[in-house]
Amino acid sequence: MKALILTGGAGRNLTPFSTTRPKAMTVVAGGSLMRRVLNDLREVGVTDITVVVGQHREKVTAAFKDGEDLGVHLTYVEQERPGGIADAILRARSRFNPGEYFMLVYGDVVTSANPFHQALQSFNAFKGPTACVCLPGPPTARYGNVYLDGTRITRIVEKPTTAGLGNYVLAGVFVLPVDLFTLVEKCGGDMEQVFGQLVREPGLSASIWEEGWIDVEYPWDILAANRMVMDTWEEAKISRHAIIEGNVTFTGPVHVERGSVIKAGAVLAGPCYIGRNCYVGNNVLVRSYTSLGAASLIGYGVELKNCVLFGNSRVGRLSFVGDSVIGENVDIGSGTMTINENMDRTSVDVAVRGEPIDSGLAKLGAFIGDDVKVGAGNTLAAGTVLPPGASVPHHATVGGR
């Protein structure tokens, strides 16, 4: 079976990270969402994969090229301007043969286990169009509501108006007939109509996903997804090509990749991830759910807690970074403090496209885009967002209410 991955969406709610990359290139637990999808697909034997790429397509193509390193064969189809799912699907039409089934995958979803295995098993049982459905964490009106009768989907309400319903939703993994392309065309690219038609004829069956599932929509979803993936880790993995100095303490599932240096006195509490060629300085405290992308440089005495660094960034000595996400090529000066809670312990608001949105989280730090420079001795208020390329002078205080 062939697969079609959609990565063309603009993902505007994921700023500052989506300003410079497709959502699928967001990093959790040491790897991009896209890399996880490709690995999972290869694991179930799906290797002929078409990827629809949009803005910042070069980030995808540069990372995966023809897919050979991951054991898959990738073909890229370009979607110049974001034109919705239907437009993306139609662009890939020529890659698929009529009469067959293919797997349709949304590239911005993170799961705690391989969802394609179950999708294929269910498809084999149903021998017809299959959609994975799941219950999103807290019920939300963000997704369409699916109504089930056994495993038959009876209707999909795309934009639910009744608040507070705990319905199943489409999980972003489908096994569909290639004839779908004709249907999409006939429906004028209206996906609501397409699914409505599928449900009526020939019918759409549900494969119920009960493992973890997170749609990375807002920047704090990166932290939740990172935690969900790391919670599946059971063992420590230390590369034999890493240099671990004396008096370093590891507890729990700590992953350290090749070429990294962990200096004396560092304490690493798993689950945590140290990518390739990182430098973790003396007396650094890496607390659980921290993910350091390749070539991260952590100075003396820094404390990191529940944070994701995409890679190639520097955190200067005696800083604290907690409950935060930091893009690529970021330089954080020494003695910088991310404040990760409001004084009154209320949940933290984050500015998304200029509007403050309640994250629902009592502990949340800063979201720092690519190529940002933060001077020494700064305090970043809870929920601070720094756009790519921003520069903060020494001894400034950013954000705060």
Binding site: A125, L135, P139, L165, N167, Y168, S205, E210
Partner: protein, 603 residues
């Protein structure tokens, strides 16, 4: 309890033997093994673990044999070890046996065989059977005569299958108080503890009775009486179940699948002919004393039945737990005992029915599995037709049993003049609306229940409170929670609180209260006062409520108001989902909780 499968075929049997025993895993899964004949040699592969685990170590599927038997074990005699796993063989490896049940006189037989020079490799009661057959074969030189002679010496319960190097094309099998059936395929015949062992290959079965034994080869079978040795003429039963139905389909677990099958299962229960229900109601009217029997979940079903009979039909029908029944049984010729069992093989219930029958009582039963022991031994059976229930934790079967008892109570009320024709129509309309109401919960509340389950998954102690009809519901809900999550959950009537339990309440103990609809008046207000009592002592209270209930809870799930008769079933479905999602949050083995088996066929 254990599972047995066997295949004799023109073609290699490795995959079928493995699949057969894998589909019986719900009967037990602490160890498994296969025995087969290879070139006139007996070979055994076995170990501890689930069928898949043993297969990866022992390669159960990779064999070219044409005759073999297999077993999945749930330990009763002897620890869970490789030696104690079945099949067991005789001293010289000429006979291999698999067994489900308990041999009562095994110590005696073991001593006798020990004296005759037999050496034992395991602590099981089963191994002595292989040695016993070998011993009798030495005397007679004929496998069938040795088999019959050995069976006659056994006391206790058994379902057995045996193969021998001296008769390499046939499987010998027999049953006494444990289930065993034959499957008749094309170019292959099968033996199994139940249909699941071979339903992928054939739907034609012959059901063995106590005191009969069968001989199965690749192209023929015969069933004989153990007492006379004469051939018994048996009917071939065609199993109506679709094998696809007994698989998971698109669900991650059988439990969730079976919860979602409830609307359908209730619909088919409502389609069961009026005359079937009426026949049992007539028996109840004619009896001087009527008792409801069940154990575990089915005891709570019976208890709900007791409330229904009292409230709808003004009749006192006590519910008794069948494991205690023999200590209380005062039934006689004018008594009626109504048993409830999903599998129809539940040991305690079978024994209780037998006890009551000996005292001359009439018997009836609500059973899911057709052709099961209970279905055949009672005077009148209502087959609930809920389809196979595979998850060890009973959901749809229990709900359907409750629905059938509701129908029975209505029917009884009509006969006793407590239910008018108008009331009856009202009740029937309420029942007819129930499947749709359950669908609404499954579709629109699942996410809310899952979120609550994940929020409270770390709670170690739960009180489940209910009053009236909601009391047995609370008990059943607490049992679901215990079984599948391994969390302590105690069901009790709301009135018990101030008689002791209140002293347990602190901020760590969570309480789930089943609140009847406000329209129930006093029942509603009395239950609400239980909520106040717990909250006043700092306890966390989660409520399953109906719309229109004052929100005095720390957390709650509001269900849509419905008829008072069917209202209790809605929070039960919600509680099933709560138990299921709590179990997945805690990564429990949902379909096969530790230490439990689907139908308990041992004492």
């Amino acid at each position: 309890m254990c599972g047995i499968s066997g295949v004799a075929s023109f073609h290699p049997i490795g995959d079928r033997l493995y699949e057969g025993v894998r589909h019986l895993e719900y009967r037990g899964y602490d160890s498994c093994g296969v025995a087969f004949l290879n070139d006139h040699h007996l070979e055994i592969r076995k170990d501890i673990g689930t069928v898949d685990e043993v297969d990866s170590k022992e390669h159960l599927r990779q064999l070219s044999a044409l005759v073999g038997i297999a077993h999945t074990r749930w330990a009763t005699h002897g620890k869970v070890t490789k030696e104690n796993a079945h099949p067991h063989q005789s001293c010289h490896g000429e006979f291999a046996v698999v067994h489900n049940g308990i041999i009562a006189n095994y110590k005696l037989l073991r001593a006798e065989l020990g004296k005759a020079g037999h050496c034992f490799r395991s602590d099981t009661d089963t191994e002595i059977i292989a040695h016993l057959i070998e011993q009798r074969f030495k005397e007679s030189g004929d496998v069938e005569r040795a088999w019959v002679s050995a069976l006659r010496s056994l006391e206790g319960s058994y379902a057995l299958a045996m193969i021998s190097t001296h008769d390499p094309e046939r499987i010998f099998c027999a049953r006494h108080e444990s289930p065993l059936i034959l499957g008749l395929g094309s170019e292959s015949n099968y033996v199994g503890s139940d249909f699941n062992a071979f339903i992928d290959y054939t739907k034609n079965t012959v059901i063995l009775e106590d005191g009969e034994y069968g001989i199965v080869s690749k192209d023929s079978y015969s069933v004989k009486s153990l007492r006379t040795g004469e051939v018994v003429d048996k009917d071939v039963t065609v199993v109506p179940w679709d094998s696809e139905l007994s698989r998971k389909g698109g669900y991650p677990h059988y439990m969730l699948k079976e919860i979602h099958e409830q609307p359908q299962a209730v619909r088919s229960a409502l389609r069961i002919g009026q005359e079937e229900i009426a026949a049992v109601a007539d028996m109840m009217v004619g009896a001087h004393r009527v008792q409801l029997l069940g154990v575990g979940t089915t005891y709570y079903v019976a208890l709900l039945g007791q409330y229904l009979m009292a409230q709808l039909a003004d009749m006192d029908v006590p519910a008794l737990s069948s494991d205690e029944f023999r200590h209380l049984d005062k039934s006689g010729r004018d008594s009626l005992v109504i048993a409830i069992s999903q599998s129809g093989e539940t040991y305690d219930t079978v024994m209780s029915l037998r006890h009551a029958k000996e005292r001359g009582a009439k018997t009836a039963a609500i059973v899911n599995v057709m052709g099961s022991s209970i279905a055949r031994m009672v005077d009148r059976v209502i087959l609930q037709g809920s389809g196979p229930e595979v998850c060890v934790v009973s959901t749809k079967a229990a709900l359907v049993q409750m629905i059938l008892l509701t129908r029975l109570a209505i029917e009884l009320g009509v006969r006793r003049g407590t239910v008018s024709a108008e009331k009856r129509r009202e009740y029937e309309a309420a029942l007819a609306a129930l499947p749709g109401e359950i669908e609404t919960i499954l579709n629109e509340k699942s996410g809310l229940i899952r979120a609550a389950a994940y929020r409270h998954a770390q709670v170690q102690n739960w009180l489940f409170l209910g009053r009236g009809l909601y009391y047995p519901i609370a008990l059943e809900a607490a049992l679901k929670m215990k079984e599948v999550t391994y969390i302590h959950a105690e069901g009790m009537p709301g009135g018990f609180l101030k008689h002791g339990t209140l002293s347990l309440v602190d901020d760590k103990l969570h309480t789930l209260v089943f609140i009847p609809p406000p329209s129930t008046g006093e029942l509603h207000s009395m239950t609400m006062s239980s909520v106040e009592e717990v909250r006043a002592r700092g306890g966390f209270v989660f409520g399953f409520t109906f719309n229109g209930t004052d929100d005095i809870f720390d957390g709650r799930l509001a269900l849509t108001q419905t008829h008072e008769l069917t209202a209790p079933f809605l929070p039960l479905v919600a509680a099933q989902l709560l138990a299921y999602f709590t179990a997945t949050a805690l990564k429990r083995n949902v379909d096969k909780p530790r230490s439990l088996a689907k139908s308990v066929t041992v004492a």
